[in-house]
Symmetry: C2
Subunit: 280 residues, 2 copies
């Protein structure tokens, strides 16, 4: 997420795409595609403990998109933004030259800092000894039929702001879980200049019912928060459970960046994770 | 262009797309595609007499896009924004599922008001008697080989601000010429609640050398400014000619919205203009 000063105000901005066939299945209803495109951006804003203020969207539709479908897409974008205090203030619509070209939706979100003194939470600032914690439960967001929570999750905006207000400077870094805990933990750690690693305790993971720990660390699109903190976090926020899942440790050249402590010993999870570009 | 108040500041924002095969030919170099995508947005900002402050860009590339081409696109976006005081502060990159899917580039621009008291120039506020004027010369922006000025024009940002500062409240409405003078004059007029029409004097049009008046009113992608003013405008701005091309008149139910006064009498131009979606 970028930041620019406009007059006396810090403005945060980010852009994210939903490409049908990549991030959504070709048969996903366009209202859901629009909603998901906005939710992904809102989750990015949440990870900075910022507050969304507006969205803009562009879409390239196909020659076969009906007016009713285009309206559904617009409604998905508009109502989802409005629901989280971010009205749709601009848009652009285009049509692909060929009927088989896939729909592309791009959403830009504008946000403002929401913590005291204009503070935002970034991905760096971590050090060995920090705890790693997550909100909610992990795994199984992508249903085998293409549906599931990944299409309609709740970005943790209020929880992130509450966390920042409650923990103050003990909340040191945060990211939202889009590619899976293992992948995003690695991304979080690698956003810090000093080399570090983390150990995730599989016995502590808040795993969604019926799944094993591999799904909780490997599945993508949970859109929960993963954060590093210097003191133990609250156990819940507005009824949403907060779970300490691991700890930042000093770099060890003989071990990976992300390790899982399991019944069978340490497992290197570096490089694991859900990749956009798979057929989900 | 949308507007949102962030703290004490008015922030303007707009989004626009370049779809290869629609707005650019499939063989256009990606650096030029990126540059044009940003220039189109900058021209939108110019039409409000605002000042650009940042851009964000998303792109969906094809499986066949090389890393060098992707880098060219990025450089086209980045350097063009920087040239006009709008650093690239965010981006998102995706790859199409199929090799034949066309490249889509979406650019969001953030801007701030640049005139006294935070005024911006909109498309409404016109009345019969107002003059219509344009900057620069018109027609022939699209070369027969797909090249031409439409790929590398100069958005009239400084000229628009200077015009607003010079003319004050006598500058009443403005639009940039993307679809052609006839089309954009119609759009400008129809942005006003009261019905009006305009008469363009073909003898006065600043036509690019070698073209006739039909090209000057019908060709798209001039990216000059068309504005309505209550007093005669300056004849030039920093060496750029300003030409009064017509006048707003009262609505006449028997005549079209946009008329041209020619040697052969009045010609109705309503509905004329260059449409995106042609093979340019």
């Amino acid at each position: 997420m970028g930041m620019v000063k406009i007059g006396g105000e810090q403005v945060l901005a980010a852009v994210d795409q939903c490409v049908v066939g990549r991030h959504c299945r070709p048969d996903a209803p366009l209202r859901a595609v629009g909603r998901k495109a906005v939710l992904r951006n809102l989750s990015d804003v949440a990870a900075m403990a910022a507050r969304p203020v507006a969205i803009l969207a562009s879409a390239t539709l196909t020659a076969g998109t009906t007016e009713a479908d285009a309206e559904e897409l617009y409604e998905g974008l508009r109502t989802t933004g409005a629901e989280y205090g971010a009205p749709l203030i601009g848009g652009d619509l285009s049509i692909h030259a060929n009927p088989d070209d896939p729909i592309v939706v791009s959403v830009t979100i504008l946000a403002r800092p929401a913590l005291p003194e204009g503070r935002v939470i970034r991905r760096n600032g971590m050090q060995p000894g920090d705890l790693l914690a997550v909100t909610g439960k992990l795994g199984g967001s992508l249903g085998s039929d293409g549906g599931g929570r990944h299409l309609d999750f709740q970005p943790r905006i209020e929880e992130a702001i509450q966390l920042g207000n409650t923990m103050g400077n003990d909340l040191v870094a945060m990211i939202d879980l889009s590619d899976g805990l293992a992948s995003d933990a690695q991304r979080l750690i690698e956003s810090n200049q000093a080399p570090m690693r983390c150990i995730l305790n599989t016995a502590d993971l808040p795993i969604r019912d019926g799944l094993d720990w591999r799904r909780a660390v490997g599945d993508g699109e949970d859109y929960e928060l993963l954060f590093a903190c210097r003191q133990p976090p609250p156990q819940e926020l507005n009824g949403l459970p907060i779970t300490v899942v691991g700890r930042i440790e000093s770099h060890d050249p003989n071990l990976g960046t992300v390790l899982a402590r399991t019944d069978a010993g340490l497992v290197d999870l570096s490089g694991l994770g859900w990749e956009h570009g798979s057929d989900s």
